[in-house]
Amino acid sequence: MNGLLTKFLLKNPSVLVFLGALALFTAFVSVGSEAFGWGFISTSFVKTLGKTLCFCLIAIAMDLVWGYCGILSLGHFAFFGLGGYMLGMWLMYARTEIIVQTAMSNEVIPPTDQEVIDAIGTQIFGVVGGSDFPMIWAFAHLFWVQLALVVLVPGILALVFGWLAFRSRVTGVYLSILTQAMTLALSLYLFQNDSGLRGNNGLSGLQNLPGLDDVSQDIVSMWFFWASAFALGLSYLLVKLITESKLGNIVRGIRDDEARVRFLGYNVEGYKLFVFVLTAIIAGIAGALYYPQAGIINPAEIAPIASIYLAVWVAIGGRGRIYGAVIGAAFVSLLSTWFTGGQAPDIPLGIYTIKWVDWWLVLLGLSFVIVTLYFPKGIGGLFDRLVRKGDA
């Protein structure tokens, strides 16, 4: 297997370039961090960078499902959010349990287990006027189970949804609309107080790791940054292995001419399902890494617009080239942070002042239109052209 991997890397030097660049970037951030280095990169910016890596991770998934397989899913942020919720449940439960136990340890009569659980329930569900644990929290105290659910819940939802949609041969824009409906329905459901996930309050305090209150956020942020970088590197390698294999050829064939692939004897629906589920799982993992860095998750995160942004990132970065998706997600999401964070200088035009907080979306929309019309291959395409010129 080792030999095969070496052979693969030799045949695809771009993977090594990407992994090398990612390693360098990770080392640079580590050296610059407040926790382990000179501290010229603030902890909050480390978190922003770590979250950006998670966006890059889900963008890779989006590029595989859209750029390679031709399925324009506008619902992948639902899987991202679900991954975040699954890990968030454990984080919130385990931390609340510690807080409750500490508070109760001062009481004269030691509390029974039921009293502890009730108190945790009141702490968590008080905001939505409840104290009982809903069914879906049955495993919230078990870290490994919730970790498995990060993969299983998005995977199974994608499997059921994909099976129904692909089997009925729903394709193109109709499928995109269905995926939007899926993420909208999920988000609306989670907004309800009795959904069991605290309605519009969502899950909060996720940046605090249970039992590790002594460890400062400077260090925790670096842990998550490393984990995100590792997951990104691993997924990049995995997705490249897929796209450069015969499976990659079939998947591209499905994108270009589904019927032809079918008449070659391939079960197209099975292949689509495989890609859809795999990318949902990658999205779930990305979400599980993202929300502890963001600290809070609520149903607004999986509103339909989030998944549309994802498509915009990948389109601007360049479809059908995995590094393009990474560049697009990193570039656009960082730029978005800059513009909407109030750091971008406003432009006074005499009678009217362009405030970027409001106008950023207009700029993004315009660049999306320009990229689609004039640079269909995105930023990655420009990159390709430079490399090719370098060869000549």
């Binding site: 050829n249 270009d256 032809r260 008449f263 070659l264």
Partner: protein, 246 residues
């Protein structure tokens, strides 16, 4: 079963229009057959039914020695049973190399798992080179399929059919848009293929069919009008009426 494919009494209606009307058709194990007929005679719909793209309202489609019914099978299952199809418009995967196109078509396991861990063996490389030689694209193996000429794309698609190693090839207008030389070469490829398997060719061009030198079936309004040698069919009064217009 004496025949490879036996189609009996099939009919199909689209919005009140009877595209196929009580059609019967059969072909043997190693036979070349041409299907002719005016536009709208049901030639392409017939192929759609055999390959599982369209379901007939009635009738039977039986395949092979065990007389398996194809009506309940999906397109990919039918393809794996051994029926290959070439479309009217050349459809190759333009973004990929000639080699990759042939590799995808080559007979092998078709499940995602098997395909993911597929490594090209030496046997496969040899087979692909043989196929490329057969269709005259040996020097173009690493070219992008989209950069091929129209005729070369047609051949590549025929090559992909042969790579599937089917028992029956359904070929829709293989000579459309080809030069005379290209046509002659296509005739040769098809004739050679028909030595070991059944080949059904749908064509408009009478000269091309004459060169194929095989039994001809003439379709009209969804059923068989005449069947026999080309001279027999073209001298049939009904056929003349249909082609010249009554």
């Amino acid at each position: 079963m004496a025949e490879l494919l036996e189609v009996n009494g099939i009919s199909v209606t689209f919005d009140g229009f009877k595209a196929i009307n009580n059609l019967a058709f059969s072909i043997g194990y190693a036979e070349l057959r041409a299907i002719i007929g005016p536009n709208g005679a049901g030639k392409t719909t017939f192929m759609d039914i055999v390959t599982g793209k369209t379901r007939p309202d009635e009738g039977s489609v039986l395949w092979g020695e065990k007389s398996i019914s194809l009506l309940s099978k999906s397109e990919s299952q039918i393809a794996n049973l051994g029926i290959g199809r070439k479309f009217q418009k050349p459809t190759v995967f333009e973004d990929q190399s000639v080699r990759d196109n042939l590799m995808m078509a080559l007979k092998a396991k078709r499940t995602p798992w098997a395909v993911l861990f597929h490594r090209g063996s030496d046997d496969e490389t040899v087979r692909i080179e043989e196929l490329a030689t057969e269709i005259g694209l040996k020097d173009a193996l690493d070219r992008r399929a989209g950069d091929l000429s129209h005729g070369q794309k047609q051949w590549l698609e025929i090559g992909m059919l042969l790579a599937q190693d089917p028992q029956l090839l359904l070929v829709d207008e293989p000579a459309a848009g080809m030069t005379v030389d290209e046509r002659n070469k296509t005739t040769e490829i098809l004739k050679r293929a028909a030595k070991t398997r059944a080949v059904v060719v749908v064509e408009h061009d009478m000269e091309f069919i004459r060169n194929l030198d095989c039994k001809v079936t003439c379709l009209h309004e969804g059923s068989v009008l005449a069947e026999g040698s080309l001279d027999f069919v073209t001298s049939n009064k009904d056929v003349i009426d249909v082609y010249l217009g009554r």
